[in-house]
């Protein structure tokens, strides 16, 4: 669904951002892109969305070469959430904002109205509010809601949970999970390892523009070398089970760890 082949990208003035990067994400995957601040994650997201084009190498999204495809064409297939929601909010009311994304996709009026009303209800928004009177967390949820409403085949989410409180975070992640279960491919950039553990199956770790690890999220969390290099730290329960050593290799959640403890006690 998404393929990068030997991709390089350089910003003027700051040197390399992405260096010889190759990976592939298949239809229906839920992958997380991790890495330190400045690692190049947002740059990768923009490369996939066609907002920037590779200096060398190729980026293919849903079979389309991003260098040969109009950004507007890609936007019909890919739902893209900017790291800063204010970069995408552009209408005067929440209702218009939600409708706008659907109009771009060429849905008919009745379908648009139906989806807008459903999204307003699901997310608990007041349709008449001006987007810029909303708090940062609410603007973040609005930006995400307008992507989710469009039900894209591919979702690229750049830090979808920043600025959200715990409850909102769970609510939007459940919505993303729902679309993924219906077949959407998700690539999510995220600094919250607990969210990654709960929702993503695969993790790709980027450091200084290069891919340094790629595999099952749970396994990556246990690879001290990759984690440290990319300024990451595993979720709390994984940290704990790593310290406890043998017999706790599979314990990443509270329930799993408690089970492992009970089992060990019985064995003794």
């Amino acid at each position: 669904m998404i393929r990068l082949e030997r991709v390089c990208y350089r910003y003027e003035g700051s040197g390399a951002a992405v260096e010889d990067l190759s990976f592939e994400i298949n239809r229906g995957e839920f992958a997380a892109l991790l890495g330190e601040n400045g690692a190049g994650k947002s740059t990768v997201a923009k490369l996939i969305d066609g907002l920037v084009k590779p200096a060398s190498g190729t980026v293919t999204v849903a079979g389309l070469d991003t260098r040969k495809t109009k950004t507007s064409e890609l936007a019909k297939r890919v739902g893209f959430l900017f790291q800063n929601p204010d970069r995408q909010i552009c209408k005067n009311t929440v209702r218009e904002e939600l409708a706008f994304g659907l109009e771009l996709r060429g849905l008919d009026r009745a379908a648009i109205d139906e989806r807008v009303e459903r999204t307003l209800r699901d997310f608990g928004f007041d349709g008449e509010r001006g987007p810029f009177t909303l708090s940062r967390g609410e603007r973040q949820r609005l930006a995400l809601a307008s992507i989710i409403a469009a039900e894209p085949e591919i979702m690229i989410l750049d830090e979808p949970t920043t600025g959200l409180d715990y409850r909102e975070c769970m609510r939007v992640m459940e919505a993303v999970k729902g679309l993924n279960e219906n077949g959407a491919t998700v690539l999510m950039i995220c600094h919250d390892m607990e969210v990654v553990l709960d929702f993503a199956r695969r993790a790709l770790v980027l450091s200084k523009g290069r891919l340094i690890a790629d595999g099952a999220a749970r396994r990556i969390f246990r690879s001290a070398c990759a984690m440290e290099k990319a300024s990451l730290s595993p979720p709390q329960i994984t940290q704990l089970s790593l310290r406890l050593g043998a017999g706790f290799e599979e314990a990443d959640t509270v329930g799993e760890l408690a089970e492992a403890i009970v089992k060990r006690r019985r064995a003794v």
Binding site: G163, D165, Q236, L240, I261, R265, V268
Partner: protein, 280 residues
């Protein structure tokens, strides 16, 4: 140091009070973590501490806030900013200079410090926050997390007695988030700086803060030592505040009759407790 008494505030034109009847005493050298769902009034509370309310935002204001014994009503914003430095939630709105270096220098020069002192502080703070390599970069070309670090550095450089931070680690990677909180803790311990940090990452607060303030719908629901507040984990969850997973683990172990309800708030504590259980 900071004394909030019966504070109620309604933004001009708003239907609901953003703060209702909030009272809290923060001693000098305190390290208070503020948490709560969005819209709970956390930013409004900080705005009352740095004087933005009532000096900038208008509305109905009842009660009082005193900083070092002086009512914020009677101080100018400039006076207050010398005592309390704020890292705002909206970093993009806060950064106004072209380069990283200029941004940090801007505040220092406005403070009228000697040249040598300015240079020394600039070096120190860039190093501490881990952005020395970005010094001459243009701010508009930084990644989200890098910008947030610049905003933090610019405020730390001024060495205010009180630091108010509004979700300062939202876009930081895990290591940088810890770095910032370790730095705050050090300033707090070594220089007695009072820290009030709004933060959604409960794990950071339970490890670094001494006290926790939990807000919900404009009210201060809990305020006390971190451990005491985390004992109310079930009530916290109802408000919409999650607990660190080691706290959930403590609860689970108790439920299974393995412990007598020891509350672990950090991975270190949880490790010691689990080892005790295993040695049984």
């Amino acid at each position: 140091m900071i004394s909030v008494k019966d504070l109620t505030f309604v933004y001009e034109g708003a239907r609901k009070a953003a703060l209702s009847g909030v009272s809290m005493e923060i001693r000098q050298g305190g390290f208070v973590g503020v948490i709560g769902p969005s819209g709970a009034g956390k930013t409004t509370l900080l705005s009352c501490m740095n004087g933005i309310i009532p000096h900038h935002f208008k509305g109905d204001y009842y009660g009082s806030v005193k900083i070092c014994g002086k009512d914020t009503f009677d101080c100018s914003l400039t006076e207050l900013s010398l005592v309390a430095g704020t890292v705002f939630q909206d970093v993009d709105g806060m950064l106004i200079n072209a380069t990283v270096e200029d941004e940090v220098l801007y505040g220092l020069e406005n403070f009228g410090l000697p040249k040598a002192e300015i240079a020394a502080r600039l070096e120190e703070v860039l190093e501490e926050v881990g952005i020395a390599g970005l010094r001459r970069r243009s701010i508009s070309t930084l990644s989200g997390g890098q910008k947030q670090k610049v905003a933090i550095a610019a405020v730390l450089a001024l060495r205010p007695q009180i630091l108010l931070l509004d979700e300062p680690t939202g876009e930081l990677d895990p290591a940088s988030s810890r770095l910032v909180f370790s730095l705050l803790k050090r300033l707090n311990r070594e220089r007695g700086i009072t820290v009030v940090a709004v933060e959604q990452k409960i794990m950071l607060l339970s490890e670094f803060a001494s006290e926790l303030a939990v807000m919900s719908e404009g009210r201060l629901e809990f305020f006390g030592p971190v451990r005491e507040v985390l004992r109310h984990s079930e009530e916290l969850e109802k408000i919409g505040v999650n607990c660190p997973r080691v706290v959930a683990l403590s609860r689970e172990l108790e439920k299974r009759g393995l412990t007598a309800g020891t509350l672990c708030v950090s991975v270190d504590e949880a490790e010691a407790e689990v080892r005790r259980v295993l040695e049984g």
